[in-house]
Symmetry: C2
Subunit: 198 residues, 2 copies
């Protein structure tokens, strides 16, 4: 059974993939809007983890809609969740994709699909949506990560990652300059995987 | 890292244990109130799965309280959740128990601890509570089960399992006869693991 794991290069999506690895044929998938080379960043991390990786090229209209949402809202939650949902749906449309997974933890708030969004995706696209870390709290995930991964942690500004936020931030920066970024995105620590502990 | 998996001999707790096995030192734990030999039933299934197993002897007051709840309520939900919570707490009190897991799926309703119950247990007892199947829907769990386990499925009356319900049903039967059982417990299909596919 093949599973496509939405992959940002961070600790959660990496750990989700590692938990699935003994039971599925895992492929890592990173969405890209052709604005930043997040594809290369993710491919590099994937090769360090030792799992196959591919890019999902996304329609720039989706990033445009997300941009409008965050400018209208003044905070990123809805925009990020929207990109997440559209990415899952794009993946679910592909032939041969039957299991889609992500790195959502028990205490995550964004990006998180609601129970009815998940049910709707499973019913409309005949796929299974898996969140291997959904039953793990932050401490338990960190313990697993410590055993399996060497990571770098830093504020979002200082880390080059391939998450949904990266290209959205870039688009905003191009249109409004850098100062608006810290108004829209509250500072938060992000992680990037450096190496897998074998 | 050792994890203690609450184990009924059914497909969900077995599959949860199998998902954890590559990452933790797994022990299966079955609670018993000395009313039925659910300990032997569980030990037999555990040996077929090939994982170490032990019994958690529970205070009969807890079964008594659960009995009062179900008689008062007329349905089993609160009684079963109560036994589950008390079992997790008993286990969490033990020295050396740092990770406790169960077989809760995404769409399970009973027994399920709420987010605040889980948080409270983690904070009071310094343990991590894991639900490896929490991010998996019914179909996905069934697919995994089909790959890893041979199971028997039947209505609760016709299956000898080591779940919380078994001894509660027995106590009610001893005190009120068998007819009340089907009034209190809606008929539902249960599973028991017969063999592990290696």
């Amino acid at each position: 059974m093949k599973v496509s794991v939405l992959f940002s290069g961070g600790k959660d999506s990496s750990m989700a993939a590692i938990l699935l690895e003994p039971f599925f044929e895992v492929e890592l998938v990173t969405c890209n809007f052709s604005l930043l080379s997040t594809d290369e960043i993710a491919a590099e991390v994937a090769s360090r983890i030792g799992l196959p990786h591919r890019i999902l090229n996304m329609d720039s209209d989706i990033l445009e809609n997300a941009y409008e949402m965050i400018i209208r809202d003044g905070f990123p939650k809805n925009a990020i969740n929207y990109i997440h949902q559209k990415t899952v749906e794009s993946l679910a449309l592909e032939d041969g994709v039957k299991f889609i997974a992500d790195g959502t933890r028990r205490d995550d708030r964004v990006p998180v699909l609601t129970a009815s969004q998940i049910q709707s995706i499973e019913d409309r696209f005949y796929v299974n949506y898996l969140c291997p870390l959904r039953g793990y709290g932050r401490t338990a995930v960190n313990q697993l990560v410590k055993t399996h991964l060497i990571i770098q942690e830093a504020l979002s500004d200082d880390i080059s990652k391939a998450d949904y936020e990266a290209e959205l931030r870039e688009l905003i920066k191009l249109r409004h300059g850098i100062d608006i970024i810290e108004k829209l995105f509250p500072p938060h620590v992000q992680s990037k995987v450096i190496e897998r502990i074998k």
